[in-house]
Amino acid sequence: MPDPGETYVAYVRARQSALLRSAALITGDPHRAQDLLQDALIKLAARWERVSQGSPDAFVRRVMYRDNISQWRRHGREVLVGDVAEGARPVGATSPVDPSARVTGLDVRRALLELTDKQRTVLVLRYYDDLSETQIAQTLGVSNGTVKSQAHAGLRRLRQLLPQAAEALVGTEETT
């Protein structure tokens, strides 16, 4: 039987980058995402024997999202959606965007922060983590219909915020 410590370490090394980037997209704050992931991995270690038999990724995601909400409940919204790197400013406060301009990662991150928390979470889980609608619903504790409606609303809002990418954001709603 493999040593649980070794399998855990292997799992963390293999998955931390993807989980971290996903959390950072959702929180908008890489440092907060790192804290969330670290806490989640500590909790995972405490339950590794049982959780490793199922889906460690699902466990970690759920702990992070729960802790994220928990932190908000304790300290207010400002810790849920943190500062975006590079001193980004809200998209809505800027001049009209040139539709021909190239979309940057910073543009996308700014736009994501303009979405509601649930819209942003659903889009990241759906299109970055490639979770199914049912998996997202289970992770967030909401109905499949809510996942669908949040994705629809999130994509619609992104189209407004990222006219450069509007074409890419058309038509995907039907597949959510």
Binding site: K43, A46, R50, S70, G76, T146
Partner: protein
């Protein structure tokens, strides 16, 4: 094609983010395993005690003194500006962060067992706080007073400056009038530059850490003096282990200037989101609608619980709890006390604070200390414990049209048919 392009956009957003040093898997493994050990040492036989600690903790035995000071009612808050999204509701609306990514964290793939599973043979000595999850434990609130002052109103986060050079005593809240013993010379809870110290008969606990923005965060070990009062037979309503766990749960510290509320967690339970919906008395044809803030006037007018099924389906409370589908619990807040009637012999009643707790206008929270012995059994007792926990944690209240949405956290074991 479109899906792929969206993926490309998100990949683009993620690829140039800068992070700190990679997380060392060996470190998180060690921390997680230590937390199992620590939890086990602190958790044994703790759940029942934790329930007792929620409210009505009597600090009187062993303290001596006769100058008991009754605590007048706390003032209630005023009206609150409107909000733009329902709390704890599923509907697509809004931007309310409470409605975001919340809801019950249901069992999935067998990975949602958040309770620790101790291993035989592990050490029993608490070794510190690293790895103890923030939200493990039964929501617990302790009411403290310096004794000379009465509650004066709305709570605000305790600051480091407010914390030092003061000494708070535990308040007994079970009776009709909360009472606090006059302070002994070296008894009570005190903060200093290094952390917090609790001393009472049979209790001598020091937790290193700091108060910041209304939260106490540990930075080191918990030091407990074994049998600090040898030969003295004094009941200990809050044991050293209980104090240690509450104070290391990153408790929220709030004060109205005179009273200190310590809202933390204790025990091994893993609280999860808990919600329900209420209606003002006299509303016969309730409708959902715009979200507005709940005011003290709403609370004093009285609210009645709607069935969990209605809360889920018509109000959109995603984490609805209703241990008693056939009973409509009522809630009223008057004169600084909240009364919750879950159908026990006597309604639950305790001191309560309705306070603005965050930077946003809609962050209003009702916190109360309800008695731990509801005087009933079965589903009603479960309902009572649910309310104890929700109000101990501090519950957010929002209007959703006619409805009032209650959004909080509680032990998932308190899980009625409405969930």
């Amino acid at each position: 094609m479109s899906d792929e392009e969206i993926r490309d956009l998100l990949d683009l957003a993620a690829e140039d983010m800068e992070f700190g040093r990679p997380i060392e898997a060996e470190d998180t493994w060690a921390a997680g395993r230590r937390s199992r050990t620590t939890s086990r040492a602190w958790g044994t036989g703790f759940l029942a005690a934790a329930a007792a600690a929620v409210v009505g903790i009597v600090w009187t035995q062993g303290l001596g003194g006769s100058g008991e000071v009754p605590l007048p009612p706390a003032a209630e808050s005023g009206p609150v500006p409107t909000d733009n999204g329902p709390a704890g509701t599923d509907p697509t609306g809004p931007d309310d962060p409470l409605a975001s990514a919340s809801g019950p964290l249901e069992e999935t793939d067998g990975v949602s067992d958040f309770t620790h599973s101790p291993t035989e043979g592990e050490a029993e000595e608490p070794t510190g706080t690293i790895g103890i999850p923030d939200e493990v434990g039964t929501p617990t609130v302790l009411v403290m007073s310096e004794g000379e002052w009465a509650p004066s109103g709305e709570l605000t986060p305790l600051t480091a400056e407010e914390a030092v050079d003061r000494r708070w005593m535990l308040v007994e809240t079970d009776g009709d009038t909360p009472r606090v013993d006059s302070p002994e010379s070296d008894y009570g809870l005190t903060f200093d530059d290094s952390g917090v110290h609790v001393r009472s008969c049979g209790v001598d606990v020091t937790v290193t850490g700091a108060v910041q923005d209304g939260t106490f965060s540990t930075t080191g070990r918990v030091e407990t003096v074994e049998d600090p009062d040898p030969g003295v037979d004094c009941p200990v309503p809050v044991t050293p282990d209980e104090w240690a766990q509450i104070l290391t749960s990153k408790p929220r510290l709030s004060t109205d200037g005179e009273i200190l509320l310590i809202a933390g967690t204790a025990g091994d339970a893993s609280p999860e989101p808990a919600g329900l919906a209420l209606l003002p008395d006299g509303v016969d044809d309730p409708r959902g609608g715009p979200t507005t803030v709940v005011t003290a006037e709403d609370l004093s007018a009285g609210l009645t619980e709607v069935p969990g099924e209605v809360a889920s389906q018509e109000v959109g409370v995603s984490d609805s709890r209703d241990p008693q589908p056939d009973h409509a619990t009522t809630l009223t807040m008057e004169g600084g006390f909240v009364t919750v009637d879950v159908g026990c012999a006597e309604p639950l009643r305790g001191p309560a604070w309705f306070s603005h707790v965050g930077p946003e206008s809609f962050n209003w929270q009702l916190t109360a200390a309800l008695p731990d012995e509801p005087g009933c059994e079965g589903a009603a007792a479960e309902d009572a414990e649910l309310w104890q926990q929700m109000l101990a944690h501090g519950t957010f209240l929002h209007h959703f049209g006619d409805y009032v949405v209650v959004d909080s956290w509680a032990d998932p074991a308190l899980n009625g048919s409405g969930s």
